[in-house]
């Protein structure tokens, strides 16, 4: 498990240990706001287990991905500002 994976979060490269969840990679990049709510409030992960949908982000162009249930892959492009 010593391998690291490099992906990008909002265009900036970040390296994380293999097996890291996307949600964690985003937090490691210093980001707390994963999305804006329908009235514009900042939101981040709440439940950590795929129920609340607050951690949803765009991955490789696909919107509404629950970042707490998806494992980082090499060269993945993650956006919280899409």
């Amino acid at each position: 498990m010593a391998d690291t994976i490099t992906l990008s979060v909002n265009g900036a490269p970040i390296s994380v240990p293999a097996g890291t969840m996307v949600s964690t990679a985003i937090a490691s990049a210093g980001i707390a706001r994963y999305r804006r709510s329908v009235t514009g409030e900042p939101r981040g992960p709440l439940c950590g287990m795929g129920i609340c949908f607050e951690c949803r982000v765009t991955i490789d162009g696909r919107p509404h991905c629950r970042s707490c249930q998806i494992v980082c892959q090499p060269a993945m492009e993650v956006r919280t500002d899409a």
């Binding site: 498990m1 707390a32 609340c52």
Partner: protein, 415 residues
């Protein structure tokens, strides 16, 4: 959509699901175990850095050796026909056919709204632990833990062990109730040891009973949390994270969709863990919050029963009864106090998906009107988060579930 056919299908790969799958497969049945997570173990046995806890690893190995087929990242979103489930996976979709089905869908945290609860870095207690286990750096972070239940202690210990600066554990239950519960623990030596070792690891952290968060403050993320004690004192703690959950509630969406009858605590089951629907069993937290040991024994009973090994299922009845008594004591000790109903202000968001405030929902006559008029509970989580709060605050239980029980890709539903 390709079909897969099994004797027994287990939904959920936590302790109950693993035990059920292992016992059914050991009894000679062709078994599949599905879970929406990438690894088996459920939330309580969530792997950290790719490594499962020892007890989890033993059950996972047992299930593997017995020939259980493990289907990861599988989300059941519909039951299109009897004995059939529609499943969405990372790799594509399939229909899964079963003779017997075991619902071991587990539990989620109960969240109660209070001003500021929607700020980034306010998370569930289990929620923050889940993120930490998947690599969130918490060393040196200031964390306050609040809500109710034994999970708060387990989370605090994990955070401390990984270098976090745990400032406070705020338990809403009164000290008197916990003392009564502590006395009952003496009848369960294993549980008592767990409680003692949990507490011993936390001696440096203030553990305040009769205490709860009243508001969270911050601009774009959490900066501080204000607490109150039943005696009336309020004060503010600065912190990086608030880990806050008010106990657990069962995940009942799939059982509801399948038409299983409910009790006031979860899915109704008989002595074999059979639900009101022939061929469908349920085990673990879905049948009522009871903890790890009860989940395991219920899973074993369901696995044996679904495989037709009724003698083996019956032999576990006494063990189950013992653990069920403990679960009942737990429920009483950590019952939510009425003051928590005053936590949200009229303009506090109740539904986080659609940004619906408490006052807008309270103006409605019930769930149906609230959904139609305010869209409360109609967003992506489909009421999973606000539902538990609505039951506690307004006394409304959700009546029905319609497929898809999770947001699914349009392509998945049109096949």
């Amino acid at each position: 959509m390709p079909d897969r056919i099994y004797d027994v299908v287990v939904v959920g790969a936590g302790p109950a699901g693993l035990a059920a799958a292992a016992r059914a497969a050991e009894s000679g049945r062709k078994v599949a175990m599905l879970d929406d997570n990438p690894h088996p173990g459920g939330q309580i046995w969530r792997a950290a850095a790719g490594k499962s806890p020892r007890e989890a690893a033993q059950w996972i190995q047992q299930a593997e050796r017995a020939g259980v087929e493990w289907i990861a990242g599988a989300r059941v979103f519909d039951a299109p026909a009897p004995h059939s489930l529609a499943v969405e996976m990372f790799t594509g979709d399939c229909q899964v056919q079963y003779s017997s089905l075991i619902l071991a869908t587990g539990a989620r945290e109960r969240f109660l709204p209070f001003p500021g609860w929607t700020l980034p870095n306010v998370m569930g207690a289990g929620g923050l632990q889940a993120l930490a286990k998947s690599g969130l750096p918490i060393s040196g972070k200031r964390i306050v833990i609040a809500g109710s239940g034994p999970l708060l202690l387990a989370v605090a210990r994990y955070m401390l062990h990984h270098g976090a600066d745990v400032r406070l554990i705020a338990e809403q239950a009164p000290q008197s109730a916990l003392l009564r519960f502590g006395l009952r623990l003496t009848a369960h030596p294993g549980k008592l040891m767990q409680a003692v070792s949990l507490r011993a690891g936390l001696l440096r952290v203030p553990y305040k009973t009769d205490c709860w968060p009243v508001s969270a403050q911050g601009a774009e993320r959490l900066e501080s949390v204000t607490f109150r004690r039943a005696a009336g004192a309020t004060w503010t703690e600065t912190c990086d994270y608030l880990a806050c959950g008010f106990g657990l509630i069962p995940n009942l969406e799939l059982a509801t969709l399948l038409g299983c009858r409910m009790t006031h605590t979860g899915v109704e089951v008989d002595s074999r863990q059979l639900t009101s629907v022939p061929g469908i069993y349920s085990a673990g937290e879905a049948t009522g919050i009871g903890g790890l040991e009860l989940s395991l024994v219920e899973g074993e009973i369901a696995g044996y029963a679904a495989a037709g090994s009724l003698d083996r299922a019956r032999a576990l009845a006494a063990t189950r009864a013992t653990h069920a008594r403990f679960a009942h004591a737990l429920e009483q000790a950590f019952a939510l106090r009425d003051e928590l109903k005053q936590l949200p202000r009229p303009d506090t968001m109740l539904c986080r998906c659609e940004d619906v405030t408490l006052e807008r929902v309270r103006a409605c006559t019930g769930w149906r009107e609230a959904k139609l008029h305010t869209r409360c509970g109609m967003g992506p989580c489909q009421g999973r988060i606000c539902g538990g709060a609505v039951v506690f605050l307004l006394g409304w239980h959700s009546e029905s579930v319609r497929p898809p029980v999770l947001p699914a890709r349009v392509g998945s539903m049109s096949k």
